[in-house]
């Protein structure tokens, strides 16, 4: 390879910038067309149910199992730290706040990107490479309406539910470890939790977070599938991109949302 002159480097930077902006633009048009475009989609409910099943129900197992373990680990770690200050009763509020504000939405979004997001990308990419999308279009059915829209909505609906289930299961796992194993008094465990957790500030903010994450992760996953190069190599690259982009977007957005919701300014 020949060395590049500074001007060529600037040109490369410019080209990369243009690429980023065009793909942002294309994905936005794609999203708007899929969600709000008019078209024939008579059996939308049926399609949505099918997708809710494959996106939501199929992710339930990994969410529940991870939730229990994360709650239990939080409980163990929190207890050993709090016990040093003689306030092990506060372990309940610590678990609940951590799960509701942060771990519930974030870990669910990351797991969702890995489990459902990659599957969405691969599925749509595969449909594209086997010409099923073109075939739909030629039959006179808009693939944006028939394939993309139900998957987007299924993602938007599923993830907040999954995040709430994650938090509940995590708190349950944490309470089990704290109360039955570490011997924290049950009454103070729950009353401390109830006193410090606010429904509007903590629960609702957590749900808002996971709605935002749901939007971003599903959008990235579905667009990557729809936009991928229709070869097996292209699909595998798109799947990797989905997981990487979605995870980064979730973590970055989490910082911004946390600063807006819980930061003092």
């Amino acid at each position: 390879m020949r060395r590049k002159s500074p001007l060529e480097r600037v040109q490369l930077l410019g080209r990369a910038g243009i690429d980023v902006v065009t793909s942002l633009g294309r994905s936005t048009i794609f999203l708007l067309a899929a969600l709000f475009g008019r078209g024939t989609s008579g059996k939308f409910t049926q399609l949505l149910i099918k997708q809710l099943y494959s996106v939501g129900v199929m992710s339930l197992a990994i969410i529940v199992v991870s939730g229990v373990f994360i709650g239990m680990v939080l409980s163990l770690q929190g207890f050993s730290i709090l016990a040093a200050y003689g306030s092990e009763q506060a372990v309940g509020q610590m678990i609940a706040l951590t799960l509701l504000r942060e771990l519930g939405p974030v870990v669910t979004a990351l797991l969702f990107a890995g489990r459902a997001g990659s599957a969405l990308t691969a599925e749509i990419g595969n449909m594209k490479s086997t010409e099923q999308l073109s075939s739909l279009a030629m039959i006179g059915v808009d693939p944006l309406k028939y394939i993309v829209a139900p998957r987007l909505w299924a993602g938007f609906i599923s993830m907040p539910l999954l995040a709430m289930i994650f938090s509940v299961v995590g708190i349950w796992g944490g309470s089990m470890v704290a109360i039955d194993w570490l011997g924290v008094y049950e009454g103070s465990f729950w009353s401390n939790m109830q006193n410090s957790v606010s429904f509007t500030d903590d629960v609702v903010n957590g749900i808002i977070k996971s709605i935002v994450f749901a939007f971003v992760v599903t959008w990235i996953a579905v667009f990557q599938g729809y936009d991928c190069e229709p070869t097996s190599e292209g699909i595998s690259r798109a799947t990797t991109r989905t997981v990487v982009y979605a995870s980064l977007a979730v973590l970055g957005l989490d910082f911004i949302l946390t600063a807006l919701m819980f930061g003092d300014f």
């Binding site: 149910i49 099918k50 306030s87 938090s167 006193n195 606010s198």
Partner: protein
């Protein structure tokens, strides 16, 4: 057939989600349905509320009977005004009851403790507790202690 398992699965999933929301609301954040109905408001002025926060407990004989809903500064008396919501079923507090800001443990959270007075007249909704005892501020305590020992020294 296949459609049915699909629909049942999705139905259970949605139910689980809603159940989770209810658990979070009721069990975890202690949101009581229609909580505004059976409470009444009582005010108390403190010289120093340092450390007391909104949502802190209000207790009587160690039993939680309500919570702090607002804290602001009274412009006229330069005191901290604490608004508390007490459960309706504890509506027999005499008007000369005492409110004090207490600490749970050495480093624990602050809460308001109410001890009963002896008057016949009872606190009504919107009433004010006049007899108050402020938060214990460690710095002031140490200051007093030092002053006392200095006074003792000079007396000798």
């Amino acid at each position: 057939m296949q459609n049915r398992t699909l629909e049942v699965g999705v139905g259970l999933f949605l139910l689980a989600g809603m159940l989770a929301l209810m658990l979070l609301a009721l069990r975890v954040s202690g949101l009581a349905v229609g909580a505004g109905e059976d409470t009444y408001k009582v005010y108390a002025h403190f010289d120093n509320i340092a450390g007391l926060t909104v949502r802190s407990k209000v207790t009587m004989a160690g039993v939680s009977i309500g919570k702090v809903t607002a804290i602001d500064l009274d412009r006229d008396s330069y005191t901290g005004r604490v608004t508390m919501e007490l459960n309706k079923d504890v509506d027999n507090l005499p008007i000369d009851s005492t409110a004090s800001i207490l600490t749970a443990g050495l480093l624990g959270e602050k809460y308001v403790g109410i001890s009963v007075g002896g008057e016949e007249e009872l606190l009504a909704d919107g009433g004010t507790i006049h007899d108050t005892q402020s938060s214990l501020v460690l710095e002031e305590l140490i200051g007093k202690f030092l002053l006392n020992s200095v006074n003792k020294d000079s007396a000798n």
